[in-house]
């Protein structure tokens, strides 16, 4: 005798209890503190902040813990929390030219005023498993210190700018659109595109940027400058009539310099791609600046070669991993009503084909 599937409510509760148990893992192993995640899994925290569009390392660490290390799930937790927060105002644009850099490199000049600062990078490590880390404890010796440069480090692209060799990017006072408050409309302005890219999925942008390097919308990019460090966030307080520093955020900024032979509308000069992301997230920032540059083909009068990275609608509509994973995974929800209607349709079409075949055989 058939018993209808009931008890969805109890099943959900039980599944949640099971999930909580699995998240904790073996209770004999010490529980992971969110402070440990924040300090020791900092790059994961950075990615969650960047794609979650919320600068809060403690909350990002909590999200990673709750999500059992699934970073897209953690991004989702942060986004869902972020959307409930009241908006007190918009900060002034951050001045990355005055960034207190922990890392600042240029691939286009051997040296530049301020020098190259390698900072905490994997770049020159040998990727050999360090089995000492598997053994517990052990203090890490202090890294050698040097006083911070007294003057702020100028952007390297400004040196090119002086000679008129690179396109100018005039400052504007326009209020940028906010894609979390207005539905995205296409074609999008560059500001809106950059906003979407900045919170886009790192993996998706990485692959798109890589595709431009391999010829699908080639832009000949050099990293003009990559800088990582903290900048002050300032907010205009209407009652006071001036801006007040309300905190600091760590940012990664990448400016690419792209070869450009000129087009019908623009003279030969170097052009720019731009990436700006929360935290030390340099793979993301570099990828973002390549994709930004590829998307600018129309404005620069370049040919549309049909490359995915040139296609604004394709890039912007598919860059958000919270949207993508939701829609992808929803197909595991019940679809038996739709499936039933398909079943009826296939049976009907099959019956017609069989009948026609039988008739032809006679």
């Amino acid at each position: 005798m058939y018993v209808a599937v009931k008890g969805g409510e109890r099943a959900i509760d039980n599944a949640h209890a099971f999930l909580a148990e699995e998240r904790r893992g073996d209770p004999a192993v010490a529980e992971l503190g969110t402070d440990q995640i924040r300090e020791q899994l900092r790059l994961a925290v950075n990615r969650v902040m960047a794609e979650g569009s919320l600068y809060d390392p403690d909350l990002a660490a909590l999200a990673i813990k709750q999500a059992r290390g699934d970073l897209i799930e953690a991004v989702f937790l942060i986004r869902a929390y972020r959307t409930t927060l009241p908006r007190f105002g918009a900060a002034r644009p951050v001045a990355t030219g005055t960034m207190a850099c922990t890392r600042r490199i240029s691939a286009t000049f051997k040296d530049a005023p301020g020098g190259q600062i390698l900072g905490p990078t994997f770049d020159y490590t040998h990727r050999l498993l360090d089995f000492k880390l598997a053994a517990e404890g052990g203090a890490v010796p202090d890294a050698p210190m040097q006083p911070a440069p007294s003057a702020s480090l100028p952007h390297i692209t400004t040196f090119l700018n002086r000679d008129g060799l690179i396109e100018t990017a005039p400052p504007t006072d326009d209020t940028p659109p906010d894609l979390t408050r207005e539905p995205m409309e296409l074609p999008a302005s560059r500001a809106l595109r950059l906003q979407a890219l900045s919170r886009g999925d790192e993996g998706f942008l990485l692959s798109l940027a890589y595709s431009t390097q391999r010829g699908y919308g080639r832009t000949h990019a050099f990293v003009g400058e990559l800088r990582i460090g903290t900048v002050a966030v300032e907010l205009d307080i209407p009652e006071l009539g001036f801006a007040v520093e309300i905190g600091e955020v760590e940012l990664t900024e990448c400016e690419t310099v792209n070869q450009f032979k000129g087009s019908k509308t623009e003279p030969p000069q170097f052009t720019r791609g731009y990436g700006l992301t929360f935290g030390q997230t340099e793979r993301k920032a570099i990828a973002m600046s390549l994709v930004d540059r590829a998307l600018r083909w129309q404005e620069l009068g370049e040919d549309h070669t049909g490359a995915p990275a040139q296609d604004e609608e394709f890039v912007l509509m598919h860059a958000d991993n919270v949207q993508a994973t939701g829609f992808l995974e929803h197909i595991k929800l019940p679809h038996y009503v739709d499936f039933q209607s398909e079943l009826e349709l296939i049976r009907k079409l099959r019956a017609e084909v069989m009948a026609a075949q039988a008739e032809a055989a006679e």
Partner: protein, 291 residues
């Protein structure tokens, strides 16, 4: 057990106002997809975030809410969404179609005819009926603006040329008041006739795609077809094995390893009500006797 750390029905009032404006516009232009600034919800995209936002914007404390998925009140996602509103809005809930003032649904329209004053909220995955003919939003918006639906008719014609009939079984496109072609969400085409001239307000929310559209009460909705190939609302050619209903949409359930199957109403409230009224199907017992 209302959760007081969030606003009534979760969304803040500004967001609700923004959604209500979109709903009003949608009601004013039936079948037109109104862009709205969809928010991240605490459930994933694809789980009904559009419907949830529309429901949240419509709910008042006196409302009685019913949530169904695949016609059933007890499927996991329906349970989850109902619980969400119990927790954040504290509204009364019901499984009885007639008692509900707001019904959120995924993939079905209840069998029992809706009445004036009721709101039916659909969860919509892809609001654009032309999407699979033209992937670009910039293009499809133009096509709607110019009422350029030739592509859709060609697709339906090609179906007939190839298969002898229109090979769309769910999310079957409709035309609203002779103007906009609309995706009715993935309801089986069996439900399409119920869209038209309904006394209830029908609202459609697509969260990920950031669109809301609507059918105000008594809107004329026509399923696309041709004079010589008219639309046919099809269902499995059986009666419900539990309640004996011949006019309801049926789910096919595999009952044993030998592949035997039975057919039961997909609308669980409809089936239960009939059984309580003494109707018995091929395999059913009367209500209370299990089944």
């Amino acid at each position: 057990m209302t959760d007081h750390s969030y606003n009534f029905a979760y969304l803040d009032e500004q967001t609700k106002r923004m959604i209500r404006r979109a709903i009003l516009k949608a009601v004013a232009v039936p079948g037109y997809q109104v862009p709205f600034a969809s928010r991240e919800m605490p459930m994933p995209y694809g789980w009904g975030t559009g419907g949830v936002q529309v429901t949240a914007a419509c709910l008042v404390p006196e409302d009685v809410l019913k949530v169904i998925d695949q016609g059933a009140d007890d499927t996991t996602n329906a349970v989850s969404i109902r619980k969400f509103f119990q927790r954040t809005a504290g509204v009364a809930t019901t499984v009885a179609t007639a008692e509900a003032t707001v019904i959120q649904t995924r993939h079905r329209i209840p069998e029992q005819p809706l009445t004036a004053g009721q709101i039916l909220v659909y969860q919509v995955p892809i609001p654009e009926p032309l999407r699979f003919l033209e992937p670009r939003e910039t293009e499809t918006r133009k096509m709607h603006a110019l009422e350029e639906y030739g592509l859709m008719h060609v697709k339906l014609y090609e179906d007939i040329a190839r298969h002898g009939s229109i090979a769309t079984a769910y999310a079957y496109p409709v035309r609203v008041e002779g103007r906009y072609v609309m995706d009715p969400s993935p309801i089986p085409k069996f439900d399409n006739p119920k869209l038209s001239d309904s006394p209830a307000l029908q609202l459609f929310g697509a969260g990920r795609e950031q669109r809301i559209y609507a059918l105000p009460p008594f809107t004329r909705v026509v399923s696309l077809d041709f004079e010589d190939h008219s639309f046919h609302a099809s269902k499995a050619p059986h009666d419900c094995d539990l309640c004996g209903a011949s006019e309801s949409y049926l789910d096919e359930v595999i009952t044993d390893d030998a592949g035997n199957r039975m057919f039961v109403c997909s609308d669980t409230d409809f089936c239960r009500t009939r059984r309580e009224a003494g109707h018995v199907g091929r395999l059913g017992k009367t209500a209370g006797g299990g089944a």
